[in-house]
Subunit: 473 residues, 2 copies
């Protein structure tokens, strides 16, 4: 049998869930429910030794009994059944030619570190390979595709917000947490989601290449513990980053962290300095924190690349602005813009007399005496100014500005120029959940918001760095 | 006249608000409203040229007309009236002996950088000094005291949650944003709040000393742009940190940031490396980010100091744990604990068979097969174990665990030991606002929660570092 295509994972004619549970709320019941909920065709087939029906779907006692085409097999049953499932996959491939994509969410293989568990994984994989089945996992949460309606994870929230971000992760939790973190405030629009676990077959490099060629993927976020073939990964990454941004969070920066990574997915984290240099050379953006990782990936999907590194810092809060500028300078990519005299005149005409326009250059403190119209007008002026490449806007909205009014005044200012003149605009609203509504409205209009000004500065620096790489690439 | 006492700011018999506005929603109206709302005695006196009553309070045309004792004068009127107000303060001090504490929230002084504005500040301060009035500001949001019911800020939310955190800040926005950030999820319990602005009289050192002697202050958070007498600040800090923790966020790490700080409060940020070393020597904890600053200050108020640096990482999410441990190791203060054989046996008896107890040592991955009782039992076991000094708990709560049930199972485990055996326990719930309720319940029970595991690791490292300093001090 020739090898199945990676496409089978994302565009299956049918999905079999081996080990689907009848027990409401259990992980293996939830996997089935989420798969059904996301499916556009309803072609989801639970496999269970006794049940006749689960969650309204006819159940089968074996993969072999399902009469419909099944391109994606989700193995959620205990590892002791691993060889039987592999054999069924092989039989099905040889008899019907389908069952080419297998997502093994079950744990208890190589990551256990015992000779028995390692042998079990090896034996299972030998059968899979012999029939050309492609395997994601084991020890993962499989995949999801929000456009095609596929979901094999037990904990991926039924997010409906589609977008251009795709995630590839050696940790299921990192991928699902990313989306749960983003869900309530609609901070992420998703395309594909791939968790790799032990990478017994399909590895991070193959998926990266696939996402690089995937039209709907605008931004790739990668969580990596380690890969045996780092050189190949970097070669592929260097090609992908010439088309779209790849942010990476890499575990094993320290010996202590490497130990944990090894116990997690049996990965060898490798020499961190070598990875670090290779990421840079391949044009990947290495995140310095989880917040950095989450925000950088999503912002690339929502904002255009900056044309240069000249930033206007617009603020109503002086103190946080100093820390924001410190973070910007420390990151080393962006600098404050130089305002022309005519720009400064126009800005002063818009703002209150006490406003600080241009001390230092590139900096505007509107002071607390602001109203919605001032927001719209000053943002419009900044958007129209050719000597400014990107905008950081910091506010702790005064109590006298309503969330909705403030959000709309910012959005109106941003949208006052045609798309071709748009520049990245990141807003930090330093007021936690007390401005949740304002943030939600802005996110719904594609404008990224942050809790923390220094975090926004670091993400902006990532955008500038990537834009410069693309210019020189 | 002898100098008034700093105490007058926090325990005033009456508060005059010069420049109180009749215009609903304006900053100077809000200042009055918040002052009234917070006041326990109702002794708040608006001063306004024409109004007879504002917000239900009789208004006076001048400070001199108020018949009741006024210990705290809030100057919110435009800077052109500065000398008149100063003269009224002097007259009042000389005739009635009160009006000793003056909070000048008005801007338009030295921070403007013009000769006129600098002279105005100097002239005003000369009058104030001549009558022994103590001044906070100008160009600030004044002060608040949540136990005594004082508030001079126009943007400080009417938080009612009292606690042991006091904030001293050269930026009003940093102080108010801190509380707004914390408000909805009740992450901070507040005592005193002091914003210093241009520090024309009362400076950061004097306030630090005051807070050091303030019994209800358990933790001090300081935002600093610069002080002309850094040596004195460090001398005082070295004494205060022997009694209670002081976290500091310092602006001006970079030249670009220093420029902004100068335009903000006319501060000279100074040589960052010198500040950095001095903070360390004085036992202050320098925050590396705004999130670090906010969390470190609040956590010291809620959790006991660790007795050592041996950390147990309890998790259900492998990937995020690797990044958490990397952050812990990079911070260099904590290390993973060494589990005894009997501890491991007991832990395994509590958890699912697939759970990883002790690979690597100090690490427990419960896997996704968890229930509330397991949470309570394993946390109880960890709390009772003498070879563990502190706990990091990471979870992205599975959908099948209800927020309330999960929160209570964690709280029960933590509270299963007497207070004398309590150790710091920081929880990262990687699921954004989708677990807001769980986080709120935990915070209400004094258990700090985080969005991000690496952030929790950095804050834990700050706790360990400070505990070690206290041991050696």
């Amino acid at each position: 049998m020739p090898d199945a295509s990676i496409n089978d994972f994302f565009t299956p004619r049918g999905v079999a869930i081996i080990g689907a549970s009848t027990k409401k709320g259990s992980p293996n019941n939830q996997t089935l429910r989420y798969a059904i909920e996301m499916s556009k065709t309803g072609k989801v087939f639970p496999v269970h030794p006794k049940a006749e029906e689960i969650e309204g779907k006819k159940a089968y006692t074996s993969l072999l009994e399902i009469p419909d085409p099944v391109d994606l097999v989700v193995m959620a049953v205990g590892s002791k059944s691993a060889l039987q499932v592999a054999q069924d996959v092989k039989t099905r491939r040889e008899s019907k030619g389908d069952a080419g994509a297998v997502a093994i969410v079950t744990a208890g293989f190589k990551e256990m570190g015992t000779p028995e568990a390692i042998k079990l994984q090896d034996d299972m994989m030998e059968i899979m390979r012999s029939c050309g089945a492609r395997v994601i996992g084991p020890n993962c949460q499989g995949i999801a595709d929000f456009y095609n309606g596929v979901n094999t994870s037990f904990s991926l929230p039924p997010v409906t917000l589609k977008g251009g971000l795709s995630i590839v992760s050696q940790s299921g939790a990192f991928a699902t947490s990313y989306l749960r973190w983003a869900k309530e405030q609609k901070m992420v629009g998703m395309n594909k989601f791939i968790t790799l676990g032990n990478m017994a077959d399909v590895d991070v490099t193959e998926i990266l290449e696939y996402l690089g060629n995937d039209e709907k993927t605008k931004s790739i976020a990668m969580y990596l513990e380690g890969t045996p073939n780092a050189r190949k990964l970097m070669e592929v990454a260097a090609k992908v980053t010439k088309k779209k941004p790849v942010s990476v969070l890499k575990a094993g920066r320290t010996a202590m962290g490497s130990d944990v990574a090894h116990s997690h997915t049996a990965s060898i984290a490798g020499d961190d300095a070598i990875y670090d240099g290779a990421f840079k050379q391949a044009g990947m953006l290495r995140a310095q924190s989880i917040a950095d990782f989450y925000h950088t990936g999503r912002v690339f999907d929502r904002m255009p690349l900056p044309k240069g590194n000249r930033i206007c810092l617009l603020t109503v809060i002086g103190g946080p602005s100093t820390i924001c500028v410190d973070a910007l300078a420390a990151a080393g990519a962006g600098k404050l813009a130089t305002f022309s005299e005519s720009f400064k005149e126009k800005a002063r005409a818009i703002l209150a007399p006490a406003a600080n326009v241009g001390a230092p250059d590139g900096y505007i403190d509107m002071t607390a005496s602001v109203n919605p119209k001032m927001h719209t007008d000053i943002i419009k002026l900044i958007m129209e100014e050719d000597d400014i490449d990107a905008v950081l806007f910091l506010t702790s909205p005064p109590g006298f500005l309503e969330d909705e009014e403030l959000a709309n005044s910012i959005i109106d200012g941003y949208n006052s120029v045609p798309d071709s003149k748009k520049k990245p605009f990141l807003t930090a609203l330093m007021a936690g959940n007390s401005v949740a509504k304002c943030r939600l409205i802005m996110e719904e209009h594609g404008m990224p918001t942050f809790d923390m000004p220094d975090e926004a500065a670091r993400v902006m620096s990532n955008m500038i760095r990537y834009a410069e790489y693309r210019k020189n690439a």
